[in-house]
């Protein structure tokens, strides 16, 4: 697999606040990478390093084998980026934004840009500042994908958007990968979207990577089991590998990691039985891990 992105042991702090702490992240060609984590977990900070907007304090960042801070031209010309704030030049008209963006990108595909503008119903004569939130996102999206970048980076692309525009963004991700075999990295707090669109998922928590891998492997590492006990429990019973429990009395629903066999044993030891198990969803894993993160000690 060609390495598109290689981040190794990256740390970054702003003043006394640590934003990234020993983060490693790798991306190969033709895959979609989902980045999840609560607000302030470090997702945007990581993405800004890939774009050369932040310099690595410790560790290294390579995109297409290059340092994005030292060689911005060699990196940014091959990257498309949609920021969460959608920083677009307010005074430009949509058509001018396209011409402006095109000037930086020799690979600009005018017919693709036209097709997208038409699909979105964006008027080229309109000024950016006159656009609605959804239309700004669409304009930013066209500017990010029309040069058919080898790497598309989307920071919270769906944030605050209605279903129609969210669909446009997901379509752009699919087309980037399916048409050209290119790479997409996107961050999102919409876990269902990440679960559908990602081949790989990386979970950040407090600036550290708490989970990373192929989505199916990550999900397969966590189970949701329904457990019944002979006796009533007022408080959740202590089970090895359990990350989160809800329920009451004799019946509990448990999110747990590790082997199913081990879990069966620990349930059996408390006089219970596992009624049903299935792979946990990303949302269940995320909530269970985030809940655990509040407790003092966590072994990775």
């Amino acid at each position: 697999m060609d390495k598109i992105v290689a981040v190794n042991d990256l740390s970054r702090s702003f003043g006394s606040k640590s934003a990234l702490d020993g983060v490693s992240f790798h991306a190969g060609a033709g895959q979609v990478y989902g980045l999840v984590g609560a607000n302030g977990a470090g997702k945007t900070t990581l993405l800004k390093h890939l774009l050369g907007l932040l310099r690595a304090q410790t560790g290294s960042v390579r995109v297409f084998g290059r340092d994005p801070v030292r060689d911005p031209v060699g990196v940014l010309g091959r990257v498309g980026y949609l920021s969460e704030e959608r920083e677009l030049p307010e005074w430009m008209r949509v058509g001018e934004l396209m011409a402006y963006t095109q000037a930086f990108h020799p690979t600009w595909d005018s017919s693709y840009a036209r097709e997208l503008l038409q699909t979105f119903g964006l008027d080229q004569a309109k000024k950016i500042k006159e656009l609605s939130k959804g239309m700004r996102a669409q304009a930013g999206l066209v500017a990010a994908v029309a040069h058919r970048p080898e790497l598309l980076i989307l920071d919270e692309p769906s944030s605050g958007l209605d279903a129609v525009v969210r669909r446009d963004i997901l379509d752009a991700i699919v087309r980037t990968v399916a048409d050209d075999g290119r790479t997409v990295i996107f961050s999102s707090h919409l876990l269902e979207e990440v679960e559908r669109m990602s081949d790989h998922v990386t979970m950040l928590h407090g600036g550290r990577v708490t989970l990373s891998g192929a989505l199916d492997d990550v999900r397969h590492g966590y189970q949701r089991s329904h457990v019944r006990f002979a006796e009533h429990f007022e408080q959740p019973p202590v089970l090895q590998t359990a990350l989160a429990m809800e329920g009451g009395g004799r019946s509990w629903s448990v999110i747990h990691s590790g082997s199913l066999e081990q879990f069966h044993h620990s349930v059996l030891a408390l006089g219970g039985e596992v009624v049903e198990s299935r792979d946990a969803t990303l949302e269940e894993i995320f909530l269970a891990r985030a809940g655990r993160g509040r407790q003092p000690v966590e072994a990775a």
Binding site: R167, E195, R196, D216, V275, R278, T281
Partner: protein
């Protein structure tokens, strides 16, 4: 192709696609020789990463449900009869598993349930003798 993805049910998405294509073939809604949608088309329809469709089609090919033709597309294979039996069995087995799990929760043993299935069948036969097929 009529496929629905449910992210909440814990089954990997590629497997949901595999299962539903198998079901469509087993039930005759997809016939031998019919072409499955191109990867890009189905990915856009379902809003999933294209690699998931690739994985699903690969698995369907390995299990002999479809075959790929070089430079064209993915087609439903012949010989679905044998598959249909296996697949019909699998569908019923899933229902049985759910029934057993629910029976367990309500304190019915497998033998209880077997007896109840026979009783229900008898009751149905008695109620509507004319409607029973074959």
């Amino acid at each position: 192709m009529d496929i629905t993805i449910n992210v909440a049910d814990g089954v990997p998405i590629y497997r949901q696609i595999v299962n539903q294509v198998k079901y469509l073939v087993a039930s005759g809604l997809l016939r031998a020789g019919e072409e499955l949608p191109p990867i890009r088309t189905l990915a856009l329809q379902l809003k999933v990463t294209p690699n998931t469709i690739v994985k699903a089609y690969d698995e369907l090919e390995i299990s002999g449900v479809v075959h790929k033709r070089r430079g064209s597309g993915t087609f439903v294979s012949e010989g679905r009869q044998q598959l249909a039996i296996r697949e019909r069995r699998r569908i019923i087995e899933q229902r049985i598993d759910a029934l057993l799990a629910e029976g367990y929760q309500l304190n019915f043993s497998a033998d209880d349930i077997l007896r109840m299935v026979r009783d229900r069948k008898a009751a149905m036969d008695a109620a509507e003798p004319a409607d029973v097929e074959k």
